[in-house]
């Protein structure tokens, strides 16, 4: 510590001397002389730096000079001198070199005139210019980095304290003003360097768009320059010259270019070319942003291309004959469609042009299917409906009638198949090309539903399709194949609007499958039902499930009854073996099962007269049945079921061959058939029964009776009766029937041909009308229920509200008809469930408790 003072004095002496040596006033004078001598050091150093001769300079010395100037409060002077120096440098050294590179050609291009030289020459002169500018810029950056290093103390102390932009920023501004914005010496239009720069770069880019190779690195360097320069010394990021000047010009130029290109494509090419060219352009511009200009522009240029190449003429391209959307869909041009989807997604998130086109196409193709099926149905149209056609039917015409019906059934299956094929086509397209777009999926679903519901028989056909598959379609199929079939059925089901109609048909078809033992697999049936339960709901399937329950119950009953009889030990009498199906009335569609003709005028069920042996059997079963189920009512349905009858045909004396022997056959006939045949047991040989007699003793509905007799007395297969007159007409009152003793057949077991009922097929016009009427009637009840339920809760509701709520509640099942709803309301008012509110402003109803 003791030595400290002396060191200090020695040091101060040294400092003083050094000040003197450096020409400084030791008392800290602020004279210009000081400044000038330091500035001399600095300015000569700056010159060396600018001429790239700095490697001999001592950084410390130059820095110290600027440090001292700033300490002596001469920062402002220094700052201004450096600026001045730079300005002079630009004017005297930089600009002359650049001006030299500006050829009249470049000026011509910039002013929009014709260059009059080849693209190649234009490219060369342009590149020359760019190279010159790039060099000037890079020199500037290098020298300014060094200058800023030297002037760091000024930046830190003077610029900060006085809120001046750093010397580097200032020098960037100087470059902008004195180089880029300097006016070109021999130009008329007051053109500046910047104009030339823009036009040269754009010219080069357009050359590249036309397929030339250009120096991307060079352009990139110039773009970098523009990204490093700003409109003002505030250096606002949004005011980069690149953004404010170049990008504006670039986008405008691109817009014009793509406008032209798209117009040319529209004129000379097809949609496929257009798609590919657009994709190519989008990719090119993106790469251009990466390699040639700046990523700052990538979104904006993409937008320009999208607008000019996609949006501008989209509808025209889509409508192009032979290559537009129609052709793409028709010919499965997946690549085109994929591209189209990608491009449209870029410009329109709702993809509405594509959506509309796809929807139109679905409806168009779907309507075609509807039309061809309708036509093919009516083309070989039999003169009348198959069911009623038997009036004057002979053997032959009957056969054709049958096959016509089969044909129609086949048409139904074909309709479903074609709809599914169409659906598959669009599904595949959706998966492959439309990246499983949800909006489009919804749209497609809607269109499918639209055209399917336009087809009046859709419910019936879909049910028939399922019926067909469940009967034999799934035979020999693996589980996964069955799964596919069920999937298809479910898909179709989803589209159907009138679910109640479908339910009606499904019940009918299912009933036949079950009662006639046609169902291939109970397991698959149940799967189908559980699918429907998922799709449509519990209410829909309870009855179907009930039908299944009845079937299982009946099996148990049959077995139980059989053992019950055996246990009675009452085997002395010839016992009729009974297999029974007990059907719960509500679950089964009696009318469509053939029961319609058994109803009287008033709708009550007419029972036929059962033969005694059968009546005994019925009584016996009834006793058994009611033992455990008290209070139930059993009704025996003659129009259902069948019977096996053992027939003995005694040998006919005097006849040779087959007729000379006794023949035994086992005949399978419908229940009615059995009743009729039993009548003949008590008849003496050679006696006959009139139609009327049969009718009277059996009480079988006339229509059913005629048909049954036709089977037994006209059709050759089971002609165990003879008809008089022996023609092939449908039996009618007045005809007589007797035992056909000379019946022969090669088979022991004979199944009497059944004309109606057992096979599910397309309904005839009348039958369909019946079904529809029944359905409408049922709908009426449903609507009634819903209205009452709503009104009970609300007590008071406007017409509008009530309707919309009813529609909403029923949407799941069917789309109610407005007129029908009005009628139902009228009827409810009549029945005093509702009343109109008299003086309400809008029509309003009131619930009457």
């Amino acid at each position: 510590m003791a030595s400290q003072p002396s060191t200090n004095t020695a040091l101060e002496r040294g400092l003083e001397m050094s000040r003197r040596a450096a020409g400084l006033n030791p008392l800290g004078g602020h004279g210009d002389n000081d400044f000038e001598s330091q500035w001399d050091i600095l300015s000569s150093a700056l010159r060396e730096i600018h001429t790239k001769n700095a490697s001999q300079l001592s950084f410390e010395q130059i820095y110290r000079a600027s440090y001292k100037i700033v300490l002596k409060k001469q920062g402002d002077k220094l700052y201004d001198r450096v600026k001045e120096f730079e300005e002079q440098w630009f004017g005297g050294e930089v600009m002359p070199n650049i001006q030299k590179l500006i050829t009249p050609n470049l000026v011509n291009i910039a002013t929009g005139g014709m260059s009059g030289v080849t693209a190649n020459e234009r490219r060369m002169t342009g590149e020359e210019f760019l190279r010159g500018l790039k060099a000037a810029w890079e020199d500037h950056i290098t020298t300014m980095n060094m200058t800023t290093d030297v002037l760091m103390y000024m930046d830190r102390v003077y610029c900060t304290d006085n809120r001046k932009p750093s010397i580097f920023t200032t020098s960037m501004g100087l470059f902008r003003e004195h180089v880029l914005r300097s006016v070109i010496s021999d130009s008329r239009a007051g053109l500046i360097i910047f104009d030339i720069l823009n036009s040269v770069i754009l010219d080069q880019i357009n050359m590249e768009r036309d397929g030339d190779v250009i120096d991307k690195t060079l352009i990139r360097a110039c773009v970098y320059m523009l990204e490093g320069l700003y409109e003002s010394d505030d250096e606002n990021e949004l005011e980069k010259l690149y953004l404010t000047v170049f990008q504006v010009a670039f986008l405008a130029d691109a817009k014009e270019h793509y406008q032209k290109e798209c117009a040319t494509l529209l004129r000379e090419s097809d949609a496929s070319t257009w798609l590919r060219q657009t994709r190519k352009r989008l990719a090119e511009e993106d790469v251009r942003c990466q390699t040639t200009i700046s990523m700052l522009t990538s979104e904006k240029i993409a937008k320009v291309v999208e607008e000019e190449m996609i949006s501008a003429h989209l509808t025209e391209f889509l409508a192009m004959e032979g290559s537009g959307i129609k052709a793409m869909i028709e010919n499965d041009r997946y690549e085109d469609l994929t591209l189209l989807y990608q491009l449209i997604s870029r410009v329109d998130p709702s993809k509405s042009p594509l959506k509309i086109a796809l929807q139109a196409r679905v409806v168009e193709l779907g309507s075609e299917i509807n039309k061809t099926i309708t036509e093919s149905e009516s083309a070989p149209a039999p003169p009348a409906q198959p069911e009623d056609g038997e009036a004057e039917a002979g053997d032959k015409s009957k056969a054709t009638k049958q096959s016509a019906a089969a044909k129609q059934t086949a048409a139904a299956i074909r309709w479903v198949d074609e709809v599914l094929t169409l659906k598959d086509k669009f599904d595949t397209m959706w998966k492959n090309c439309l990246s499983e777009d949800l909006i489009l999926q919804t749209a497609l679903t809607k269109s499918f539903s639209d055209f399917i519901n336009l087809f009046p028989r859709c419910s019936e056909y879909v049910s028939l399709f399922i019926d067909d598959n469940l009967k034999r379609g799934i035979k020999g199929k693996t589980e996964s194949e069955i799964e596919v079939v069920l999937d298809k059925a479910t898909t179709l089901l989803r589209y159907i609007q009138d679910k109640d109609m479908f339910e009606r048909y499904y019940k009918k078809h299912l009933a036949r499958r079950l009662l006639h033992g046609k169902s291939e697999s109970a397991d698959v049936e149940k799967q189908m039902i559980s699918r429907m339960k998922l799709e449509i709901g519990n209410a829909f399937t309870t009855k179907l499930e009930g039908m299944f329950k009845d079937m299982t119950m009946s099996e148990d009953l049959t077995a139980g009854y059989r053992s019950h009889i055996q246990n009675l030990g009452d085997l002395d009498r010839k016992q009729v073996d009974l297999g029974i199906n007990v059907l719960t009335t509500n679950y089964w569609p009696m009318e469509s099962m053939g029961g319609a003709s058994s109803r009287g005028e008033d709708g009550t069920l007419m029972s036929c007269s059962w033969p005694t042996e059968i009546m005994n059997l019925q009584e016996s079963f009834k006793k058994f049945y009611l033992k455990e189920r008290n209070g139930r009512k059993l009704t025996w349905l003659g129009f259902l079921g069948s019977a096996d009858i053992k027939c003995v045909f005694p040998k006919i004396p005097g006849k040779e061959g087959i007729l000379g022997r006794e023949r035994r056959h086992e005949l399978n006939v419908p229940t009615y058939g059995m009743i009729i045949l039993l009548l003949f047991n008590i008849l003496a040989d050679g006696e006959s029964l009139t139609y009327e007699a049969i009718q009277q003793s059996t009480n079988i509905p006339p229509q059913d009776l005629s048909r049954m007799l036709f089977t037994l007395s006209v059709l050759p297969k089971a002609r165990v009766l003879t008809k008089n007159p022996a023609n092939k007409e449908l039996p009618k009152p007045g005809d007589k029937f007797s035992f056909n003793a000379s019946f022969t057949s090669k088979a022991v077991k004979i199944k009497a041909p059944v004309m109606v009922g057992a096979v599910n097929k397309v309904e005839g016009e009348e039958e369909r009308k019946d079904t529809e009427d029944r359905n409408d009637e049922h709908r009426g009840y449903v609507i009634d229920t819903v209205i009452v339920r709503i009104m009970k809760a609300r007590k008071l509701s406007t017409h509008q509200m009530l309707f919309s709520e009813v529609i909403a509640q029923l949407a799941q099942r069917f789309n109610p008809n407005i007129n029908m709803m009005k009628k139902r309301i009228e009827s409810l008012i009549e029945r005093e469930y509702l009343e109109r509110v008299e003086d309400a402003q809008v029509p309003t109803y009131k619930y009457l408790a």
């Binding site: 040294g14 060094m146 030297v150």
Partner: protein
């Protein structure tokens, strides 16, 4: 003292990190072909990682001369050479960063002749480079006078954090001495080597304008500008009772930014 221009976070230049990287990796390949990365707004250049000595480091030399250039006295203590790890000194001092990494003679020789700095003060700086602590040769806290010289050195070679540590230490020393005074000999030194807005100046004016101070005796240690500043400071003060137990130091600090970070922020070419 603070202007928004100086705070690195306020104006962010997207090229900063890229160009700095290009410089380190050399000029091979040319950076123009690489796509520009989107501005990485999340991590502006605030604090660079402190250097360490794990792994071999280049040594540079700083020859410190107490007097001006061209003047050599016979006293060896006035001319001393310090070998220093380059990464350390360049990390903390933008001045040395520019000298050793620039295109001037020093960049070539990797040797800087630093004039008009006392070697002992520079030694404190060198020690601080490695330890971030301010101690003199004997391991004690340096005198206020030395601390003033240290502050001035740090100001000149642009090491803000050292400036702030030094001025804090001056204030602490003042309080420990108990007499609340600063040695008057430092005033002319300060007024000779700082600008009007310098934190050190403002600080001493603040201390010397306290009301209880003894009479000014050694008038030659009070530069006219200093006296003027004191008078103005007293006038500005609202209340007379100012014991000046301690000075809140924040206003006298220099904004710190990660050493030579501002250099790295500039546009560069290869």
């Amino acid at each position: 003292m603070s202007s928004s221009d100086d705070i690195p976070t306020s104006t962010f230049r997207p090229f900063a990190s890229r160009w700095a990287g290009a410089r380190i990796s050399g000029s091979a390949g040319g950076p123009f072909l690489t796509p520009i990365q989107a501005p990485d707004v999340g991590s502006p250049v605030t604090k660079r990682k402190r250097p360490n000595l794990v792994g071999p480091q280049t040594i540079v030399k700083v020859n410190v001369h107490a007097c001006g250039d061209g003047f050599i006295d016979g006293d060896d203590t006035h001319h001393q050479s310090f070998p220093i790890h380059k990464n350390h000194i360049c990390h903390y001092s933008p001045f040395f960063d520019a000298a050793f990494n620039g295109n001037f003679a020093e960049g070539e020789s990797q040797e800087v002749d630093l004039y008009e700095v006392k070697p002992e003060i520079f030694g404190i700086f060198v020690n601080w480079l490695y330890t971030q602590e301010i101690v003199s040769g004997d391991g004690e806290a340096p005198s206020v006078r030395s601390l003033v010289y240290l502050w001035l050195l740090a100001d000149r070679i642009l090491v803000s954090s050292l400036q702030n540590q030094a001025i804090d230490l001056i204030e602490r020393t003042r309080q420990q001495k108990g007499n609340d005074r600063l040695p008057s000999e430092i005033f002319p030194i300060i007024y000779d080597n700082t600008n009007a807005n310098s934190g050190l100046r403002l600080y001493v004016v603040r201390v010397c304008s306290a009301p209880y101070l003894a009479q000014i005796k050694n008038s030659k240690n009070y530069p006219p500008q200093f006296l003027l500043d004191i008078v103005n400071a007293i006038r500005d003060r609202s209340t007379g009772k100012d014991r000046l137990a301690s000075v809140l130091m924040t206003p006298y600090h220099v904004p710190e930014e990660g050493g030579g970070g501002d250099r790295a922020k500039r546009l560069k070419t290869q």
